[in-house]
Amino acid sequence: MNNYLTSNIFRKVLASLSGLFLVTFLIGHLLGNLQLFIPGVEGQTQFNKYAFFMTTNPVVKLLSIITYSAIFLHIFITLYLVIQSKRARPVQYAVSNGKDNSSWSSRNMSVLGTVLLFFLIVHLKSFWYEMHFGEMPYQYLSDGTKIKDLHLITTSAFQNPFYTFFYVFCMVALSLHLKHGVESAIQTVGLKIPSYEKFFKYGAMLVAFSIPAVFASIPIYLYVSSL
């Protein structure tokens, strides 16, 4: 068991499980974001109430701690593995021809991961930081109470074409990251059994395509509506 905890396979299992957990987080996050499609004041109200709930509910808080831990674990463990992989081949090939034997995304998970990390920082700064520590505008509800207007922050952020493009670009990176990551994670834990191979393969492709696509559709919708 001691050997297990320091083995590469266990490290990969941690990366896989944290990654798969983050996929469930993405699905939850995405469902929340879908409220941005609701037009008018009704949409604004619902979204802001939802944001308020998400930042104050103790259960959500607990979940968010788990999510942050998963993110840190994922980053930490994959970073470790990347360094180790560099060490495993101290002299690189002069000519390498990976395109003939593997997909681009599978060979560039760390690049994609880095893009996503950068996205995460920008994204957290734009919304999470503002929500918690920023000078937020307020929405005054019909019952007289006021609530932080994250909806306004969001919709105005995506009036900027560059910011929208950046977001969409990062969703492409996310898609590629998921395309290899989900299937690979299932293989790493040992569950990609041949009789279900197609199920896992297409399932992973579905996840990899649909989640980032729906995520990306929101800023595009917001940008287009702002025109």
Binding site: N3, I9, L81, S85, V95, S96, N101, S102, Q187, G190
Partner: protein, 250 residues
């Protein structure tokens, strides 16, 4: 028949402590029926006449089974052909005027000995750590005492077909030996004879693989594409499952 003229960029390294670098050689008038290694023989013959030391490379059976030949040809272990070792690659797959870059297997666990020759004794040590069934000579029951379903025997054979060349490590972006190790683990864990030591075997072999300095597996699948025996990464999955289940249970 018109001959084939090639330019070869070959990694030359005097010894394991030497830094090494590329040298460029021209070979002319090759017959396209030659194997890649016969082309190397022609080059070496040419170098000897020029009083230059021939290029050292590993090779033995030259029929694709011993696993000794090991060259990365234009960025691919054993060259461009699927399911083919370097010795079975023929020059008809190259064109007149091609520039071919030839490098040794690159991995920390496969240090270069000289030129294109690397030390693969790490593979031996992995097998020594547990890649066997403990049965002394003379103590075996009758061969038919344990029936083994045909499909299981076939699957075990597919894994056992590994020639231990190391192309999987050479091509893996992380220099992982997972395909090699999992092939042996799976061969023995599929068979009833391998059950008594099944758990111990996978634990020991995985530990040895890690301690030799091989990288981890990121499931790019490059190894199964480059494997001259086309061994499937399904065996890696099997090994992972075995390893995970064993250790979580305990």
């Amino acid at each position: 028949m018109s001959g084939l003229d090639l330019t070869l960029k070959i990694w030359r390294q005097k010894s394991s402590v030497d830094n090494g670098g590329f040298e460029t050689y021209d070979v002319k008038g090759l017959n396209s029926h030659m194997s890649f290694l016969e082309m190397m023989d022609v080059l070496n013959e040419q170098l000897v006449t020029q009083n230059k030391e021939p290029v050292a490379f590993d090779h033995d059976c030259r029929e694709g089974i011993c696993g000794m030949c090991s060259m990365v040809i234009n960025g691919r272990p054993h060259g461009p052909l699927k399911g083919t070792t370097t010795c079975q690659l023929h020059m008809r797959h190259f064109n007149n005027g091609d520039i071919i870059t030839i490098e040794p297997w690159r991995a920390k666990a496969f240090p270069v000995i000289k030129d294109l020759v690397v030390d693969r004794s790490s593979f031996d040590r992995i097998i020594q750590s547990g890649g066997y069934i403990s049965v002394n000579t003379g103590s075996a029951p009758d061969g038919n005492a344990i029936p083994i379903p045909k499909d299981i025997a076939e699957e075990a054979f597919d894994a056992a077909a590994c020639i231990g060349c190391g192309a999987c490590v050479a091509t893996c972006k992380n220099a992982s030996a997972s395909l090699f190790v999992s092939a042996k683990v799976s061969q023995l864990s599929l068979l009833p004879q391998g059950q008594p030591e099944r758990k111990e075997r996978v634990n020991k072999m995985v530990a040895q693989m890690d301690s030799e300095g091989f990288g981890h597996c990121t499931n790019t699948g490059a190894c199964e594409v480059e494997c001259p025996k086309e061994i499937s990464i399904e065996y890696i999955r099997k090994m992972n499952l075995d390893y995970n289940v064993n250790n979580i249970k305990s």
